[in-house]
Symmetry: none
DNA sequence: CATGAATGAGGGTTCATTCAT
DNA sequence: AATGAATGAACCCTCATTCAT
């Protein structure tokens, strides 16, 4: 999903590359960056160690790349969800629903982004900042609009967007801890 | 017994222990659990490797303990901040202010809790969950109260408390990225 | 698959494995289990540390396995020697001769079994007990037979077998201390 | 017992020294030379680490000294046992009995000598050789005498003495494995 | 004399990475 | 392209030994 055959990776023969990336997200999410070994990844992908280094320069590069792609994927999904709704509450609700859906079908994606190996890889701090900023940007626009229309009180919408993105993360995380996240998600209002 | 223990000796020992723990928090926060080596810690504390193991059973135990202690510290600070205010907005404002203050003077504390090596240490998952739950609990009470008084619309306060704690985290994190976090924090409304 | 395995590769691997085991027996015999470091072993085998762990799970497992194998080897050699002779004195004589031969060509083997690191590795106590028991069993049969035929006085042959195996060990050990163990061994009577 | 206050160690104030030596024999016997730590010894003796180095130059020296003393103790005991009997069989029987008695009351002594850390400490090889030689000497005299009197066939009594000492060791070791070594020992004939 | 905090060399083991095949 | 044997730096931790008190 995250690493779905985009334009970059559409060559027909890179089934192995894809397999390794899928395996990598899972393994990284499960064990964290450091505890996940290259061996873990290749054996999950059922290839040899050497093959890993044919497709990727090294473990860290792959990890950063995976983070980037995963973040982009989630971002796009949320954008889609938000775009299709008219009012702010509905946008939020749709975003949470979409977020939870991803979290259910691809727990690794969410784990990687939210509790994953940030901090483990220095190069990721910057990446994470970009990701968070994009999330905030995503919410600021609807907030500004709502404020213009007088639907919400005048406020620092930047700050509110930050708050909103943090709020959604936390709610989603808690929802994913429940046995039936998707049902619960339907009943969310803020 | 020419050797008097439990006197100045005792105090010195405690001081060194504390110094080592402080060094450890810094190093863990900076590099993450796995990348931080025991050697990093001891050289930050200016002692020998063996000294580490004289004071602590092992790296993991120390880390978990540090996380626990740090979480408790932050939690208490927030509780204090919240208790002293009358209305919900003021409580939130005070919490953010207090949170930011800690983040400015002890960046390591906040880093350890929010982006730290959770996931690196299995034993920490449970601990992290407890910490998040405490944060949520902290906010639910004032929310319930506000709802009872009709100050906020009827809502699922559990969910709202989750959202609120996530919102605050995110806002604080963004504030800490600015050059003058404390000034900015004064102007926070939600 | 440009890489042909299970061919010369397989043989080479086995050869290296064997070489490492031989090096290990020597080193263990020379220094004892604890004093022998994995580094000692690998440099005796002229490979890198990592290679050791590619072939063997860990130091202790290898040691136990080596002990087992060595014991089995000696036991078989003695059985062969004993089987080929008709009378008890000749059996004993042949066993000593064979024992000494092994001790001359493979001092490490004998050293490992008799003065080796038993006690250093808890798992070995049981193994050693089994080995000694096998030795005793080896002698009890001919003793019983000799007693039945009236060639030796009625006695507790179990005890005698124990005595005999201990006696042989000691004699062999003393013989191996001499400059010309094999010549001397020819002149053994009990 | 082994380290009983001989003439050397009769100073009144060395209770600690004695305690440490007693503890050391036990610990060495139990864990082997390398696995036994100085800390094990001192905590068994209930003194501080520093104290160890006040009384002994280092771990190895103590071990060698202990081996020496222990060997001497056993040797004297066997000599006593042998001296008091008239015939060879009775001498042997008495030696076994005495040996077993020691093994029952001071298992550490026997363990240290027979399966203990020989090989762990290079300096001990020579010591062990001396000990074995003394044992052989112990038996050669009665054997020579018996041969002179025509009680046993003409033979290489050196070799026989070796055999005898090895035989006794092994028998004693097996006896000590039984639940009631002392009763069993009474019924020993060779 | 006795103590125990402090040291640091060194041990077992892991794992990212390379390279001959 | 693909393999997996081989490497060795680096990690965590132990423990004999020292020395200020």
């Amino acid at each position: 999903m995250t690493y779905r055959s985009t334009e970059r990776t559409r060559q027909k023969k890179d089934a192995k590359r894809t397999a390794m990336m899928q395996a990598a997200v899972r393994v990284f999410a499960e064990k964290g960056y450091h505890a996940a070994t290259v061996r873990d990844i290749v054996s999950a992908a059922d290839v040899a160690v050497g093959t890993f280094y044919f497709y990727f320069p090294d473990k860290e590069t792959l990890f950063v790349y995976l983070y980037e792609e995963t973040a982009e994927f989630l971002l796009q999904a949320l954008k889609q969800a938000v775009k299709g709704r008219a009012t702010l509450p509905k946008k939020i609700s749709a975003a949470v629903q979409s977020y939870v859906n991803i979290g259910v079908f691809e727990p690794a994606v969410v784990h990687l982004l939210l509790v994953g190996g940030v901090g483990a890889v220095p190069a990721l701090l910057e990446q994470r900042a970009r990701f968070r900023k994009s999330l905030v940007d995503l919410w600021q626009e609807p907030l500004d609009e709502a404020m213009d229309k007088g639907l919400i009180l005048p406020q620092n919408t930047r700050r509110s967007a930050e708050a909103l993105s943090g709020a959604i993360d936390e709610v989603v995380l808690h929802l994913l801890d429940r046995p039936d996240p998707q049902q619960y998600a339907s009943a969310t209002v803020v």
